[in-house]
């Protein structure tokens, strides 16, 4: 596992672990392939600014680090801005992930989307560009050499 220093740092000292009581939105997603699960809690104020965010993750080192980084990236952002925090952005902020671990960062993106969806539903809002989250993420593997 060639994890970057940033990944290791976020893994060792994950930011924003925990729960929020009475959150504005909460999202839980799982990856069907590896069986890992991530849950994100959002506290959003009336100006649609994310005031607080927490996460819980049952997953590999990359899953923990991406959760941690994702929460940092969305904190203080507006809902609209938070939608722009893609898995690519998270990975870049972590100085990259090994190829087999790219799917883990999707978990973070999807968990945030799911929490935002939950927030939108609860508050009867329509957020431009946000789709109903799937509960399970499926992703195409890296292109592989044909095998025999």
């Amino acid at each position: 596992m060639a994890y970057s220093e940033k990944v290791m740092d976020h893994f060792e000292h994950p930011r924003n672990v925990g729960e929020i009581e009475n959150p504005s939105g909460v999202g839980t997603v799982g990856n069907a392939k590896c069986g890992d699960i991530m849950r994100i809690y959002l506290d959003i104020d009336d100006n649609q600014v994310i005031q607080d965010v927490k996460f819980k993750t049952f997953g590999c080192g990359a899953a923990v680090a991406t959760s941690s980084m994702a929460t940092e990236l969305v904190k203080g952002k507006t809902v609209e801005e938070a939608l722009g925090v893609t898995n690519k952005a998270v990975m870049e902020a972590l100085d990259g992930l090994p190829p087999v671990k790219v799917h883990c960062s999707l978990l973070a993106e999807e968990a945030i989307h799911a929490a935002l969806w939950d927030y939108a539903e609860k508050h009867n809002l329509k957020i431009e560009g946000l789709e109903k989250p799937k509960s399970d993420i499926h992703e195409d593997e890296e292109e592989e050499e044909e095998e025999y």
Partner: protein, 387 residues
């Protein structure tokens, strides 16, 4: 670098410095090709047969029944692929189990793609194969039974003698993948009715890249690697003399200490198992409590994902491994843990600890103390765990 405790001896072992010392002259001094005529190199032929003899003796086999290979995977591939061809006129069915190493499983799957029928036997919740299930799976066209001696993940030792007897009774070849067992438990190929046996040197303090296949005299088997006349024309390639000397030396050293080592390691293993099961909640031991390798312990911690656990242990200087293959390209949980009936999310949180004779009680105490803290911390982070 602080603490360093290596507890992944099932993955590979440290090459014994005595082994390296024995190998050294064969790189830069006695480097001759053993097939050569001149005395400089011919001496290597004798050195080679000395190693073969050491290994044969350790198994109750004959010297000319030991064939050097590049490791356990090659031995397994050879045993399966070549017998299937050599006995094609007898039948096209082989019997193996669901908990074999991938070197057997993927080979069997490959053979299926070539029209071979394969029965993958179930195991019980401790990973044990039922000899009667082996018997029941036999068909007139069965040509080979391959059951591993001991499982590499959960350490369960299979009833090899009973299975060997059934194979013999029915006139069917019996192969065992003994990569984890050889030099960790006593093996006698006569007593256990074994026709073929795979082993790999780096699992018993020998070097990587060398192993052997025991082939009982009379077993028909084609070459797997065709070419020169080495290994009695059955395995081509310039002999890896330093590797062979390394494996022989390691076998000699390991054979001399086998009983003593097994006793020491199994006591330490039991101490580890007892502490973990008592001190860490929601934990189970995988594999049979008694019929298990002296140096293997395998636990599942609920609400815990394996890789995180490994990395945190690594940060504390402890090397272990997980049943989860998450990290090695495939994301599926271990086929062995699934075969013993663990649900996916529990199979994910498993930890294999494999000891060596260098492991101390202090090491185990340090491991358990850290493990307690780490497991608590990860559970804290887990959305599955509601305390």
């Amino acid at each position: 670098m602080g603490k360093f405790i290596y507890l992944d001896n099932a993955a590979t072992t440290k090459t014994d410095p005595k082994v390296v010392e024995a190998m050294l002259p064969y790189f830069t001094e006695n480097y001759g090709n053993p097939s050569s005529v001149y005395s400089f190199a011919a001496a290597n032929k004798e050195v080679e047969s000395e190693q073969r003899e050491i290994i044969a003796k350790s198994l109750g086999a004959k010297t000319n029944e030991i064939y050097f290979t590049a490791g356990g995977s090659e031995s397994d591939n050879w045993a399966l692929k070549a017998t299937v061809e050599a006995y094609a006129d007898k039948g096209n069915h082989i019997i193996t189990t669901k908990i074999e190493h991938h070197a057997i499983l993927h080979t069997a799957q490959y053979l299926e793609s070539k029209g071979i029928q394969v029965t993958y036997l179930d195991v019980d919740e401790n990973g044990l194969v039922d000899p009667e299930a082996v018997r029941a799976a036999i068909r007139p066209e069965t040509i080979l039974i391959s059951v591993m001696f001991a499982n590499n993940e959960i350490g369960t030792i299979e009833p090899i003698k009973e299975i060997g007897a059934i194979a013999k009774e029915n006139g069917i070849l019996f192969h065992t993948d003994a990569v984890q067992a050889y030099m960790h438990v006593p093996i006698d190929v006569e007593e256990l009715h074994i026709d073929m046996l795979s082993a790999s040197a780096h699992k018993f303090n020998g070097p990587k890249g060398i192993g052997f296949l025991y082939i009982r005299k009379g077993v028909k088997i084609r070459s797997f690697i065709h070419g020169g006349a080495q290994e009695r024309k059955r395995r081509a390639g310039t002999e890896n003399v330093p590797g062979i000397v390394g494996m022989g030396t390691a076998a000699k050293l390991a054979y001399a200490t086998l009983d003593e080592r097994a006793k020491y390691e199994s006591e330490l293993r039991d101490y580890l198992i007892d502490r973990v099961l008592k001190e860490i909640p929601y934990t189970r031991l995988n594999g049979d409590r008694v019929k298990r390798l002296p140096n293997n312990a395998n636990f599942s911690f609920r609400f815990i994902e394996g890789e995180s656990l490994l990395i945190m242990l690594d940060m504390k200087g402890i090397c272990t491994s997980s049943g989860s293959a998450c990290t090695s390209g495939s994301l599926d949980p271990s086929h062995v843990l699934l075969a013993i009936g663990l649900p996916h999310e529990i199979a994910h949180g498993s930890l294999r600890v494999s000891l060596s004779e260098e492991t101390t009680k202090e090491d185990i105490d340090y491991l358990v103390d850290e493990l307690k803290k780490i497991v608590a911390r990860i559970r804290e982070m887990s959305p599955l765990y509601e305390d």
